[in-house]
Each structure stands twice: as C-alpha cells, then as structure tokens.
C-alpha cells in the first residue's frame, strides 16, 4: 500500500470509530438532538419577554357608563385580565398579595373629571419589582387609556384639545414577538453546547478510560486525530443546527428572510470556532467532569448571557460590553438575528463572519499547536 492510502485508512478508521461512538452513546444523541428540542420548546413556548394577560385590578368607586366602557377596553385587550374592586383598600390587598400586577383606580369623580377634560379622576399603580415587566405594562395601560380616550372624544363629539399622538411603526419584528428574537439566538447556544461541551467531554473520556494512551502509541499523526475527531462532531452540530432551524421556521413561524445557504455557511464557520474551543478545553481538562464544568463556564454561560441572545449588549456596563467582544456567540447571534428577521444585510454579516473567522483560526491554531503525541 502506498503511504497515502495508509494515511487515508488511518483517518477513515478514526472517523468510523468516532461516528460509532456517537451512535452508541445516548448522551451525545441527547445533547445533539433532544436538548435542542427541549430548549426550543422551552424558549418558544415558555419564556416570553412580552406582557400578555397581565392580571390588573380596576377599582370602580362609582359605576357609570364611562367606567363600564373603559373596563371593557381593558378586558378586550389581550394584554390584560382585569379584576374589579369597589374600594382601593381591597385592591391594594390583592396587589400586596401579588394577585394583581397593577391597579387602575377610577375615583368616584372620574366622570366629572372626564367631562372637564382633565385626568384627575384616574390613577395608576404598577408593581415596579420587575422593572422590565413594569415598563411594558405601564406602556400598555397608557395605550389602552389613550385609545379609549380618543374614541370617547369621538363619540361625545366633544371639542377637547387632543394631545399630539405619535405614529410609530416597528420594523423587522412587526408583531413585537420576543419569540422571533429569542429562537434564532438559541441556535447559537445549542451549537456551542454541541461543539464545545460535547467535544471537550469526549476527548476527556478518552483520557479517563486510557484509550488516548493506546491511540497515541499507534503511527497515527496528530492532524489525523484532530480531523478524525472534528469531522463527526461537525456533522452532528450541523444536524442540530438544521433541526433547530426547521423547528424555528416550521413550529414557531419565525421568518427566515435571509438566504438559507448563507445561514448554513455562517453556521459552519461558527461550528468550527466552537469545536476549536472544545479541543482547547480538552487539552487542559483530562476528566469529563472538569471538561464539562470548564465548557459550561467559558463557553455555554457566556453564549447565554453575554451574546445579546437575551440581554441587550448596548444596555450592559461599558466594561462588560468590551468583554462581549471576546465571546464568539455574540457575532453569531448577530448574524442569526439579521438573517432571520432582516435578511441578507451584507455589511453586518461580513463584519461578524470576519470576526468568527479570526476566532476560528486562533482557536484551531492554538489547539493544533498545543496537542502533541506526548503525555506531558
């Protein structure tokens, strides 16, 4: 046999072994295919940053046509589920008991104030503990009130001075659904898990079980070990990615406005970055527990928290903003959100892809440099 065919056989043997191990090991399958499904379902259905069906108290001290009509406006809004109270004291009890998130207080002179054209008859109290939820609810209450007020003025044919209203339009995510924004970002998190954590742990497993030692004493070359390890996990990770995209578009109706091919290409680039991180971790960590811990702390958690997937990077303290520049997932989340919600915006995609390419070269280069066929 020629030298080349011997080398090819070594590489194929390595790839076949790695693939068989993936198929036989339920935990790799779980991380690659079951976890994406669970995470997507959890984030797609469970976690929502929108306010919807927020329980509020409406205090009606003196019922009349106006209060009934305003109450109905709140009931009809999908953002609120109102409960009615006759006194502010009772409503406050419910508020303290956290049964309601906000109180809309229509005082007994509500209609008088309304006729006079001032807003002294209505008061709003919002629970500010969850600042995000409070701001959103406050805005929605304001919105319901403004809409109702306009129709009231219209019906009564009153000549009241109208406050200037602003016409705003939301682009890219017209429904303002946080799901459309979360689900693409989640793909970055899932791929980080497969690429970095799974890879780091399977290499650590070889050290733990003593098979790495046997492997290193064969004529295999380091490059063959690296490629033989990376290729099967690359395919596994891309499989997890495709599954996630299919679920995002098919199940959750997230639009994919950019090119699918571009999505696959940038995902492949990101996959190589995470595999590089996984290999680097496995050089330091020679047992599965430590490899898993390191992978969670240096790859998974940053991808979750600092990538802009949930938390807006612009809103972070400046120091943390600088830190996010080191997180590969940050660039990929940016690419994903652009491709899904906006389309092929080349300047954004190219800039982020360039950052990923640099990181890929650094991580894979370091891993190749640090790995050798010695035990030290």
């Amino acid at each position: 046999m020629s030298r080349q065919s011997v080398a090819r056989r070594r590489l194929l043997g390595m790839i076949r072994k790695e693939s068989l191990q993936i198929i036989r090991d339920p935990s790799s399958i779980a991380i690659a295919f079951i976890m994406p499904v669970v995470l997507l379902l959890l984030f797609g259905y469970g976690v929502s940053l929108d306010a919807r069906h927020v329980p509020i108290a409406i205090v009606v001290e003196q019922a009349d046509g106006q209060t009934v009509s305003l109450g109905a406006a709140f009931s009809h809004s999908e953002y609120f589920s109102p409960q009615y109270f006759a006194t502010i004291q009772r409503a406050q009890k419910a508020f303290d008991a956290r049964e309601v998130f906000a109180i809309v207080w229509l005082k007994n002179d509500f209609s008088d104030h309304l006729r006079r054209g001032d807003s002294g008859g209505i008061g709003v109290i919002v629970n500010g503990v969850d600042a995000n939820q409070a701001r959103i609810s406050e805005g929605y209450i304001e919105g319901v009130w403004q809409t109702w007020l306009l129709s009231y003025i219209d019906q009564q044919d009153l000549n009241l001075s109208l406050p200037l209203t602003m016409q705003s339009r939301l682009w890219f995510n017209a429904a303002v659904s946080s799901r459309n924004f979360l689900v693409p970002g989640l793909i970055a998190v899932i791929m980080t898990l497969i690429g970095a954590m799974l890879t780091a742990m399977v290499v650590a497993r070889e050290w733990e079980r003593g098979t790495m030692e046997a492997l290193l004493v064969t004529p295999i070359r380091i490059n063959e070990i690296i490629v033989g390890k990376l290729l099967p996990y690359f395919i596994l990770g891309m499989g997890g990615m495709l599954l996630s995209v299919a679920m995002a578009v098919g199940l959750f109706g997230v639009p994919l406005r950019g090119s699918f091919l571009l999505l696959v290409a940038t995902s492949a680039l990101f996959m190589l970055v995470t595999l590089g991180m996984g290999l680097l971790i496995s050089i330091v960590a020679k047992n599965q527990f430590i490899a898993g811990q390191i992978a969670i702390i240096v790859t998974f958690l940053p991808a979750f928290i600092l990538s802009g997937f949930i938390f807006q990077i612009d809103a972070m303290p400046e120091f943390i903003q600088w830190l996010t520049l080191l997180i590969p997932a940050r660039y990929f989340v940016n690419i994903l959100q652009t491709l899904f919600l906006a389309g092929n915006i080349w300047p954004i995609i190219l800039a982020n892809a360039a950052a990923l390419a640099v990181m890929m070269l650094v991580f894979l280069g370091l891993a190749r440099h640090k790995m050798h066929k010695r035990l030290q």
Binding site: R9, K17, A214, K373
Partner: protein
C-alpha cells in the same frame, strides 16, 4: 537474532520517576519489569513507547532513537497500556478494525491475521459483543489482540494481568510465548505479581526509580540459597511464632504460610538463627528452595533499610467477652442474592470461628463483594440465613453492625481531610465518647505509624499508607469482626506483607477476620478459604487441604493457583457436560 539488543536505556532520568536507569534488553525473549508501586514502571514503558521524552539520557528501541523519531518506533511496536486501551462502546470486531486501520494493516493481511488471533484469544464467538460487556479476562485478551494486530517486533505490556483471574492470566502467558516462539517477537512486560517473574527469561528490578538489578529469575533466588526455611512449632500458634521470629535481628522476613512460617535469614547469620530458634522450644525447621519472591522481598527490605521495627502492635485487647455461641462468630446457610433476574450469589454456606482469618477467593465478578456486603448488613439478603456475632441479619442488621468493622474496596477515605480529621470523623461516626475517641486516635496514630502524616491530606498519602489509615478507621470502635474487601489490591508486595502482619496480630488477639482477595499467594496466609466462581461456592477448607486435593503425579506440590485453576476447569467441564 537472539544476541541483538531490542531496547537500551542509557543513563535515563525523568523527573520524579526515574534516576539514571541503565539496561539493555535482548531481542526475541520475554523480559519482566518488576518493582513496587511507584517504582517507575509505567514511566519506563511510556518512555520506550515515545509517549514521554526523557529529561536526560538516551533510549534506543529496535535500533531507533526514540527522542528523534518516535513515529518510527510507534510504527514497529505494539503497546498495551494499563486497562487495555479498549473502546468499551465498540464491539470486539470494531476494536480490531480500528487498530488494524491505525496500524496500516492491509485488508488482505487483516483477514489472515484475524483468523490467527481470534481463535487464539478465544474471542471468535464474541466478535459482535461490545468490549464493555466482556469479562476482565476477555478484555485483556482483546487488548492483547489489538496490540498484536500487525505482528509487532516489540510488544510492551503495562501490568497486563492486574485484576484478571488466574485462568486468563495463564492463557495470556501462553499466547505471549506462542508469539515469541513463532515470530521472534520481543516482549517487555511490567507486573506486580511476583510469581509471574519466574516465567520471564530476564528480569529488571526497579525500585524508587532506580534499576536495582537485572538477570535471570534464578540468579535472584540463587543468592538466597540456604537461607530460606520453613519453621513450625508444637508449642505455640503459627502467628505467635511469626511475631517472635520477626523480632530477631537475624531474620529479614517471616511470613505465615499454610501451617508454618517461612523465614528468610540475613546472610551469614544462619547458624545464629538456628541457635536462636532452638531456644524457642519444640520446633521443626526445614530448609527450602528460595523462590523469586523471597529474593525480591529480601532485596527490597535491605534496600529500603527500614531496619527492624519493634514488632507491629496493631492488636487491641478485646474489651467485651463474646457471647459464647460455641465460638462460631459467623454462620451462613444457603445465602442468596438476586439483582433482578441476575443471581449474584447462590447457595453459599460457611462458618467462621473466633480469631480465624477466613478468605474469600475468586475472580472479579465471582460474588465476593456481594457476599461481603450482605454480611455487613449493607445489602439485604434475598434468601437464606446469615448470623453475624450471634445476630440474625434479617432482623438486627444495625445491632450486628456495631460489632463489626468494614474496610471497603479502594479505601473509603475522605481524600480532602487530613489523616487526623479522617480518624476524628470515624470516631464520631462510631459514636465514641470524648475520652475513648482520644485514646483510640492515639492508638491508631501509634500502631499504624501515621504520626508523621497526621496533617497530610489522605489523598496525598502513598497507597500503602492509605491502606493503613483505612484499616485504622475500620478499627476505631474495637470491633470483634473485621471485614476487608480487596484490601491489598494495587498495593506493592512490601506493603502487603506488612499489612498481613497486622492482620495476623489482630487475629491472634481474637478478632475474627474476613478478607477477599484475588492474589493467590495471599490465600495461603488464611486459616480457611472459600473459593467462589459465578456466585457459587467451588470449595471450602484450609489452604493445605485445598492444595492436597490436586496432588498429581506430575505435580507433587501444587500451588494455590493450580488448585484454583483445576477447580474452575472442573466447573466448566461439569457445565458443558450438562
């Protein structure tokens, strides 16, 4: 061919492991690398395989400089690391294919090679079985087959026989010798079993990172000719005799074996010893042929120069008199344990008397540990009767537990706590009072010579000291019965000897001891034995009785290993006949 040098080490040093090691190994024969735990055996193997680079010195393997061209070496050798280097989630055939791919064996040559290796290793019928589901002995043979896949010129085996049953060990040796004779392959193997040394053509004795000696096994024992004796007394017990002999300055080592004590005398002191022994009373002395183990122990004891200790005083006076249920401390009838449909222990019956050392002997998975855990009240009994210290385990497991000490496999110690903290913890776990705890901790530190390590983390102790600490912990509450589960696994021969000396002292003071082991030579140190296989009893009796059963014309003095193998083979024959 035979005059060629296969491996040569020249002034090789490696930090923390090897110190100026120098030797040449001849090609075409089996060489053994022997030494206690931490001697540097594995480091030496890895250096030869090109897995490590020596800090100093030159290593030539098959005429190639390992430092310059490790790949060339790795293309010519077979290497089996500890634990065999198998992928447990691949099948037998897939493991073989992988190593054939990695070693560049062509598809054609592969077929003929498999046809040779599979029947030889007895794996032909198990090709589709996952390696993880093979028995220890089969894993070892698969590991060997993977290392032999390309007919290497040199085979390196790192402790290939650890934890493997004697039958498989014998088969492994047969395979190795066949390869050596047929292909002229060179073998270097490291081992902790001293009886295996005798099977090697050449021995390297490694200790503390230095090469102490090299030569044929006979050359080691020849130096002890006329200095090894078997002594028995009519007046005192074998253990009293051993304790007394051990204190004599002329004695290097005294060891209870069967019904007598085996003694190695210091060079030039033999006449003195006879007069000394004479004063001990009615005694029978018989000179015997030294074996490699005698030489090894003598050599290492002289090397470590610990000198003679003032006798190991582990014994504790038993405070409470046992209820005299005719001295039968443990009584087991038809004991069974099922795990689902798997029967781990089946129909086991035996008795143990007070002060007896009772051994459970068997390969991994024979049911020793399961039996043990039931007797300690850690595992409920499926059926049958078990009484420990007069208490029926089905009703009073907790009461029985207060009377016994248990030392688990691999020493259940808190590795992050210091020696002192471990002892304090176990004292409180056994609910000792403040005064009593103080007294027992003081005793443990003194009797087990742990005083110097008081503030050391248990995890940082050498293995032999871990074993001491674990034993001290199990003895905190002065139990009547001591259970030791594989107490000497992985511990080097010197530490093992010392350990048995402590056991003997305890037994002499009336403590009943149950011990499991897979070391055949250790079985000889027990008063009585139970041999188990596949959860069943094969035989029970004293070591002498066991061996006497297998007297054959060709084998006038069978060893315990011969007896064990004959029993296992008898069982297999009975099964295949059925």
């Amino acid at each position: 061919m035979s005059s060629q040098i296969a491996i040569s080490f020249c002034q090789v040093s490696q930090r923390f492991a090897l110190d100026k090691v120098d030797f040449n190994l001849r090609a075409g024969q089996v060489s053994g690398l022997i030494g206690p735990d931490g001697a540097g055996k594995t480091t030496l193997m890895r250096l030869a395989a090109g897995l490590l680079v020596a800090d100093e010195g030159d290593i030539q393997v098959l005429g190639i400089d390992v430092r310059n061209d490790p790949l060339a070496v790795q293309s010519a050798i077979g290497y089996m690391p500890q634990r065999f280097g198998l992928y447990e989630d691949l099948t037998v055939a897939e493991n073989l294919d992988l190593y054939a791919d990695l070693q560049g064996v062509s598809l054609v040559r592969r077929r003929t090679r498999y046809d040779e290796l599979l029947p030889m290793t007895g794996l032909a019928d198990f090709q589709q079985r996952l390696a993880g589901q093979l028995s220890g002995g089969m894993k070892q043979k698969l590991g060997l087959a993977c290392a032999l896949i390309r007919s290497p010129r040199l085979l390196l085996l790192d402790e290939p026989t650890v934890g493997v049953d004697p039958v498989s060990r014998r088969e492994l040796w047969a395979i190795i010798y066949r390869q050596v004779n047929h292909t002229g392959m060179t073998v270097l193997l490291s081992t902790a079993y001293l009886d295996e040394a005798q099977r090697c053509a050449d021995i390297i004795l490694l200790h503390g990172g230095r090469c102490l000696a090299q030569g044929r096994p006979e050359s080691f024992s020849a130096a002890l000719h006329g200095r090894v004796f078997e002594v028995r007394s009519r007046d005192e017990s074998k253990r009293q005799l051993q304790a007394r002999l051990n204190q004599r300055p002329e004695v290097i080592d005294a060891l209870v074996e069967d019904e007598q004590v085996r003694v190695i005398a210091r060079a030039g002191t033999v006449p003195d010893m006879f007069t000394a022994v004479d004063s001990l009373g009615d005694i029978l002395v018989r000179a015997v042929e030294p074996v490699f183990e005698d030489a090894f122990i003598a050599r290492l004891k002289e090397e470590t120069a610990t000198g003679k200790r003032a006798g190991i005083a582990t014994a504790h006076a038993l405070p409470k008199a046992l209820p005299s249920d005719n001295d039968r401390v443990i009584s087991v009838r038809n004991l069974e344990r099922h795990f689902g449909r798997f029967v781990a222990v089946k129909g086991v019956s035996f008795d143990v008397s007070r002060g007896e050392v009772f051994g459970l002997l068997g390969a991994n998975g024979a049911g020793k540990s399961t039996t043990f855990r039931m007797l300690c009240g850690l595992l409920p009994v499926t059926s049958g009767e078990a009484r420990v210290a007069g208490v029926d385990l089905r009703h009073g497991a907790a009461r029985a537990r207060a009377r016994l000490g248990y030392m688990a496999q691999r020493f259940a110690l808190y590795v992050d706590l210091t020696v002192l903290q471990n002892l304090r913890f176990f004292a409180s776990a056994y609910e000792l009072g403040r005064e009593q705890a103080k007294r027992r901790i003081g005793w443990a530190l003194a009797a087990f010579e742990l005083e110097a390590f008081k503030q050391t983390s248990a995890g940082d102790l050498p293995l032999g000291y871990k074993q001491r600490l674990a034993m001290a912990a199990a003895l905190m509450h002065e139990p009547d019965i001591l259970f030791l589960d594989e107490p000497t696994s992985g511990v080097d021969p010197l530490a093992r000897r010392e350990f048995w000396q402590r056991i003997n002292a305890l037994a002499e003071s009336g403590v009943t001891i149950l011990v499991t082991t897979h070391f055949m030579d250790e079985a000889n140190y027990c008063d009585r034995l139970l041999i188990m296989a596949d959860g069943e009893m094969l035989a029970t009796g004293s070591p002498v009785e066991m061996k006497a059963r297998f007297h054959q014309p060709g084998k006038p003095s069978p060893t315990m290993e011969d007896a064990f193998i004959a029993l296992i083979e008898g069982k297999d024959r009975a099964r295949s006949a059925a």
